[in-house]
Symmetry: D2
Subunit: 117 residues, 4 copies
Amino acid sequence: MSSEVSDRDNALFEAGIKLGALYHQFVGTPVNLDTVDELERTIESCISLQPYVKEVSVHIDLEIIRQNLNRFGYCELTGRMLNVHLVVVMGSTQVTARLEYDAELEYPLMRVEEISG
Amino acid sequence: MSSEVSDRDNALFEAGIKLGALYHQFVGTPVNLDTVDELERTIESCISLQPYVKEVSVHIDLEIIRQNLNRFGYCELTGRMLNVHLVVVMGSTQVTARLEYDAELEYPLMRVEEISG
Amino acid sequence: MSSEVSDRDNALFEAGIKLGALYHQFVGTPVNLDTVDELERTIESCISLQPYVKEVSVHIDLEIIRQNLNRFGYCELTGRMLNVHLVVVMGSTQVTARLEYDAELEYPLMRVEEISG
Amino acid sequence: MSSEVSDRDNALFEAGIKLGALYHQFVGTPVNLDTVDELERTIESCISLQPYVKEVSVHIDLEIIRQNLNRFGYCELTGRMLNVHLVVVMGSTQVTARLEYDAELEYPLMRVEEISG
């Protein structure tokens, strides 16, 4: 059975696009405790430009940065450090999604948290 | 009204993740007519490793490569060149999605083509 | 004839690393006129963390952004927009390098501008 | 004291560009033991397109892949896995450079191995 693509379907698809894009655009970026706030705000600004994004907040784990600082005083942004909260709206549907490291799976898991409207 | 997240919802979300990831991982890669086939196959292999991907085929436009070759004989992979067909399966739901440059929008559009099951 | 690797040699090598890294880390990032300043400062901060960087200034061309805005009101960072001035110091040698689009070559050219010390 | 930019200087600068570019373009790419050979060859092909590259060989550490496989059977390419040997030629100067993880520094170190001609 095939079916029409609804606002809900598209909102979910768009939420996935944003998290996949964010992850693969910014992983590898040099970061330390002095620059982490600025990097968080800039990732938020960049992703907010993409269509249908209502809200995005990026939190990078300070403790994991601290543990990974190399002898030059910085490390690279990795999936393990990232906690992203994203809200996408399409028509009357709002999707809330999250990227968060799952310690049990050892995986930067992206998941749908809520669908409303 | 909030609601449960179904297989269909997750399949759509996962399809978006894969296209967003592919785009932002590989855009910027040096390519020319001699290496384009190999690059297409490698992008397919890499994205196929990600969960729930049933099928992915990548086509890079030879004519746009040709037009964009610099004096050193190559160019960079851009969204304008990419045509990607992706099938994601989650439970009994199958989602077919595409990334294709939309000349009218001047935008590398990602869209859901079909949802079945 | 082989030869020792001097501070001058290493400074030049390091300058190249930084420009290659900057380019391939950030090309593809969504940007528009509202976010361009923030993105410039963040790229500068990130690259400044890498070893031996004394100074880096990033300028993104506003006119090219304007010309490339898609219907959603943003575009992607490309090599054509980037003008980067970098100073690397190693021992007593200072290397000044630049990344700038060369319209004649149609190429985002990286070049050594000055070596001193 | 300022000075002219020689072939040797430019060869070193270009070698740095290639390693910085390779690293930040491909880190984050999904990989496992089935796809690692293909990914190595493709990275080599892509970087070989860039100007002045005479030779590049990429080796990704199988043991580190094995240790980092997630429950979905793959991992991401990281600096820790990469061993790259690069030869750049400019005029009569040949530079050999390497990217290799330095366990003591806990850093994916790029260094000049030899300069000849």
